[in-house]
Amino acid sequence: MSFWGYVRSDDSVGTRNHVLVIPQGIIAKSVCDFVAGTKTILTVDHGSGRTANDREQIARVLTGLGRNPNVASVIVHAASPGVGYPELRAERLADEIAAGGKRVELLDPAKDGGTYGAITKGIQLARRMVYEASTLRREKVEDAHLCIGVKCGYSDTTSGIAGNPAVGYLYDKIVAGGGTALFGETTEIIGAEQALVGRAATPEVAGKLLRAVTVQEDRAKATGLDIRTVNPVPSNIKGGISSLEEKSLGAIHKAGSAPVQGVLQYAERPPRKGLYFVDNWMGHLSIFAGYAAAGANVVLFQLGGGGVTGRTLLEGSPSVVAPFLWATANPLTYAAAADSIDFYSGTVIEGSETPEEAGERLYRTVIDIASGTMTRSETLHYTDPIDMYLQEPRF
């Protein structure tokens, strides 16, 4: 199978065609408010007072979003409070993005007439860049150019029975088609790690998976808390999930059945195609930015929702450059928020479809969205700030 995408100079393929302005701040926001077809990010974390490792992580997120195939070209400005650190200098970020082969422009208030001058120059540049981007046409390409990231959230028992198995079918299909599929949420594989270890492509990958789980479980134990007061989260418990192990065993269904090729850090680009585990944290404002920075051109939130049936409007995407789908298998969630939901697999529970049939329908939905159909969240202007997964103390 194939989809219609924007072929970039490095042969990656975009499902969207944004001009990205980074990092966050008044210059980026002003340019994006003024110029159609542009995107920026929202985040409070600009690196100030962060350790070298965390600054490198921030740089990886920013350059990764810039290199994402959904981005046609990029403007980097030098007005961020973190820009004084070597890792976060605008020139460095711009060079790393440009190394991927796309157009990158730099704005420096010190040279461009201050903040006002940089905004003016940015608007002029961005108008030309979005025009230039609009001249590119979608082409028919193989599924091997899909790179998808998933999380399951507000999980309930419908997630494990129907929602995640449908996603698992999609994942197997994308991997079989030569594409790339990312899953993660280290806390939510505790109790299910043996099943994943058995699918590790090499003993080294098995060791990395187990180490990621051990580190996370030791952190949990070191708090002295009963993990059940933290995770499963209250909405999981209201949705019928009784323990972290039960949540994990349901959660790993979304990864399908392909071999796990590697364990990646947050925002790390997969070295090859195939299925990868990402050692990340479940928060949706965090995880999708990490997937997009790793190169995901589509991301998917598999929603349980049993505990939060009052939600009738599911708000927008924190993933910035990757179209963001909502899927659910919970009939109550779907009934409450149907116009926010891109895909429904409660049919499996109702008995009208098998998980495979639902998975095939999900695959076609993803192909449509990759080819340009809007996701429900793309029909809203609303986006949430991203919460980069930084793990070291601040000073």
Binding site: I161, S242, S243
Partner: protein
Amino acid sequence: MQPKRAIMMHPQDNVATALEEIGAGENVAVPLADGSLALTAAEAIPFGFKIAVQEIPQGEIIRKYGETIGRASSAIAKGAMVHIHNLEGTRARGDLGTGGRR
């Protein structure tokens, strides 16, 4: 009246998941590879919650997806709801003093 539906994710499981709202005293049918297991709900089991398909003694492992999801913190009767009041997870438990600060 049609029995209510619940599903076992694996033949070795000792719980099934309610596929619809089940009232106390209602009959429940759990499809198996060879036929169907008949249960009577000992109490109301909300949609998506678990029902014991056999008696589960205190301390016994509770299995779903063919894997361990915890152990019974009290004896569970066949047909009773299985949730946080009678199932406790065993992983990442800092409160059990294995590596945690008590």
